[in-house]
């Protein structure tokens, strides 16, 4: 039995062709040099973050503020949303509400059809990834051009982004070079990032100029002014939004903040946590459409109100999508974003996605050692690792666990509640196989033994020694 089958004893297999996190991670780790490269590249980002936050003496105070402002906002979310709506409408922005991904996509399609638009550009928006907007539109004959460089690269390759801030972080420059050679006709074998970026710049400038409709995400929406902020380094959100006749901004309900002064806290936290920059190159504040332009905002629920109703997990809605938890996660760095089989990967994805679909994402809360580094880097102090632990309890109590595991755990609980049985069982080493599978004697099915030796069993246990020497 290989480890894959071993895991099947303990986890319900995910339906369809999707590999579970551990299966995909095992494949990822087959190329160890590449795993090392991925790990080091992301660790480098974590180090840049550390350096940047150490320059701000009030960093921990800022995190507390960020966390508290978000807690407050979630506790008054409906009022802030209606305040935002009223002010945005007064600014000349059209507001739409979408209960789920489908409605979000339909609203966009309707605007595209009504306005007879053919050229659509989109800057980075994890919400549109979550809603699978690109697939939805392309199936209906609308071509969307992703304009963030990383997103354009993965779009050419027909892959989803593997990271919410650095979408193509799983690719090497050789991969990008081949992709651009194929799609943009760049020189074969020219791997120079400068050269490749310049090619994308030329290619996308043409798209920007021709596009009629631009879709962007929203980093923060300000209730008191009815405006919103979009942050990029490349300038692609602005190039798209300012060139097109129609701008659609998509936001989850949790993007609201009460007032503009709160941007001072969040913009200080965001880029430092994300990439170690003091601020993103462009932090654009949109309040009104420009003369002759249409501006729409789609406010999306898609499971968020449900998460708000789960006291243990609601604080996951405080997330500002900086990806610091990805970069610090030792598991993410060594398994890659695609192993998480969801739009938002990494530690935060593992506590958001079970809310959307428990069955399909039952493996994710287990893709962690609960080391807690994620919670420490999180700029809004989400207790991510605590929620991973709580999701495990939730998944088990909802029945998303394989029978093998249930039986094993029940047996273990019985032994541990009965000291006399425990002592006999301990001697025989039998129940230990369940508690600590690395002690399993059968080396051929024991995943511990694949790359690790077993601990040597000493002649006597501590208990025996104690009875002999101390009593």
């Amino acid at each position: 039995m290989n480890p894959k089958n071993f895991n099947r004893l303990f986890f319900e297999p995910i339906q369809g062709a999707t590999l579970s996190h551990s299966e995909a991670a095992e494949i990822f780790n087959k190329d160890e040099a590449r795993t090392d490269w991925h790990d080091e590249t992301l660790w480098f980002v974590r180090e840049k973050r550390d350096k940047a936050v150490r320059q701000i003496s009030e960093w921990e105070q800022l995190r507390t503020l960020g966390s508290d402002i978000k807690d407050h906002t979630l506790s008054n979310l409906d009022n802030y949303l209606t305040e935002f709506e009223k002010n945005a409408q007064a600014n000349g922005i059209k507001i739409h509400w979408a209960i789920d991904a489908e409605e979000h996509n339909e609203i966009i399609l309707r605007i595209i059809r009504e306005q007879k638009v053919h050229q659509v550009v989109k800057s980075k928006s994890m919400l549109t990834e979550e809603c699978h907007l690109n697939d939805f539109l392309s199936q209906r004959g609308v071509e969307v051009v992703d304009t963030d460089l990383g997103e354009r690269i993965v779009q050419f390759r027909n892959e989803p982004p593997s990271h919410i801030v650095l979408p193509a972080i799983h690719l090497k420059k050789q991969d990008v070079s081949e992709t651009f050679h194929e799609h943009l006709g760049t020189e074969k074998g020219n791997n120079d990032p400068q050269y490749l970026t310049e090619a994308a710049r030329q290619h996308l400038r043409e798209k920007f100029i021709k596009s009629q409709l631009a879709i962007t995400g929203v980093n923060f929406a300000i209730a008191s002014t009815g405006g919103f902020v979009v942050c990029t380094n490349e300038g692609n959100a602005d190039m798209g939004a300012h060139a097109a006749k129609i701008h659609i901004a998509c936001m989850g309900i949790e993007k609201i903040i009460p007032k503009a002064e709160h941007l001072g806290v969040f913009l200080r936290l965001l880029a430092r946590s994300a990439t170690g920059q003091p601020i993103t190159t462009y932090s654009s504040h949109f309040h009104q459409p420009r003369a002759g332009q249409q501006m729409h905002i789609i406010i999306v629920d898609n499971g968020r109100t449900k998460q708000l109703g789960r006291p243990d997990f609601r604080s996951s809605l405080k997330c500002i999508r900086c990806a610091a938890c990805f970069n610090t996660c030792p598991v993410y760095r060594r398994s890659g974003g695609h192993s998480y089989h969801t739009a938002v990967a990494g530690p935060i994805g593992s506590i958001l996605n079970p809310n959307l679909d428990m069955k399909a994402n039952a493996d994710l809360p287990f893709a962690s050692t609960l080391c807690g580094s994620c919670s420490n880097v999180c700029p809004v102090k989400i207790d991510i690792h605590v929620q991973l632990y709580k999701w495990r309890q939730e998944l088990v109590s909802e029945g998303y666990t394989a029978t093998g595991k249930k039986v094993a755990m029940k047996g273990m609980a019985f032994v541990l509640s009965h000291p006399s049985i425990y002592r006999i069982a301990g001697k025989m080493g039998r129940w230990m196989m369940r508690a600590f599978p690395f002690i399993m004697n059968n080396k051929s099915i024991n995943p511990w033994y694949k790359q690790r030796d077993m601990p040597e069993a000493p002649k006597q246990s501590f208990r025996d020694w104690y009875k002999k020497n101390k009593q």
């Binding site: 807690d71 506790s75 209606t82 650095l166 310049e198 920007f208 002064e261 601020i279 949109f286 420009r290």
Partner: protein, 197 residues
């Protein structure tokens, strides 16, 4: 029931009891304006911008004149720097703006902690201009530098105009193997003239 009502209804059922909004009480570490200027320069240069301190704007005027003679498409939006390019307005086509080599615009305020400059829509004339031009030059009064973003948000009114931006350095990306490349989609360079006239 509309989606709007459903969403708002679900929130009001599911939200926790009201939690108080905290007061932002961050003190800036230095109170010396001179330090802020130093920090502004240091940080902006560390993120790829260039800063030149000037006590007179004559130099900029001359620079613009010379470049225009050289045949570059230079856009000046500041009357104090000479003739203003009146063709730049809010409805100018992107394809025309794309030909701008260098644009001179005025900044409202600079932020020492992150090297950014706040630009109002009326200062940039067309929202695309600071992004689509190949090279961007911002003129900023040295007295307009504040220590941090908290102070900046006290001084600007984000909703005063339809659009405004904190701009920090030239457009950049590190999407290919984390190698920093300057000049992604926006301006390839940013020069800030800090003017103490």
């Amino acid at each position: 029931m509309s989606s709007r009502e459903k969403i708002l209804g679900a929130i009001s059922t599911n939200k926790p009891a009201l939690i108080e909004l905290p007061v932002i009480d961050i003190k800036s570490t230095s109170n010396l304006a001179a330090d802020w200027v130093d920090q502004f320069i240091k940080i902006l240069e560390s993120i790829g911008g260039k800063v030149i301190q000037l006590s007179s704007i004559d130099l900029i005027k001359k620079e613009i004149q010379q470049a225009k003679i050289g045949g570059e498409y230079i856009v000046n939006t500041l009357p104090i720097l000479g003739e203003v390019n009146t063709e730049i307005n809010s409805t100018m086509e992107a394809s025309l703006l794309e030909t701008v080599d260098r644009a001179y615009i005025e900044g409202s305020l600079g932020v020492a902690e992150n090297g950014s400059v706040w630009l109002y829509e009326n200062q940039i004339k067309n929202r695309l201009l600071p992004f689509i031009c190949q090279h961007l030059v911002i003129c900023l009064s040295i007295n307009k530098i504040v220590p941090n973003l908290h102070e900046a948000y006290k001084q600007i009114d984000v909703a005063k105009e339809g659009y405004g931006v904190f701009l920090a350095g030239p457009s950049k990306t590190a999407d290919i193997e984390q190698s920093l490349v300057i000049g992604a989609h926006g301006a390839r360079s940013l020069l800030v003239y800090l003017i103490s006239e």
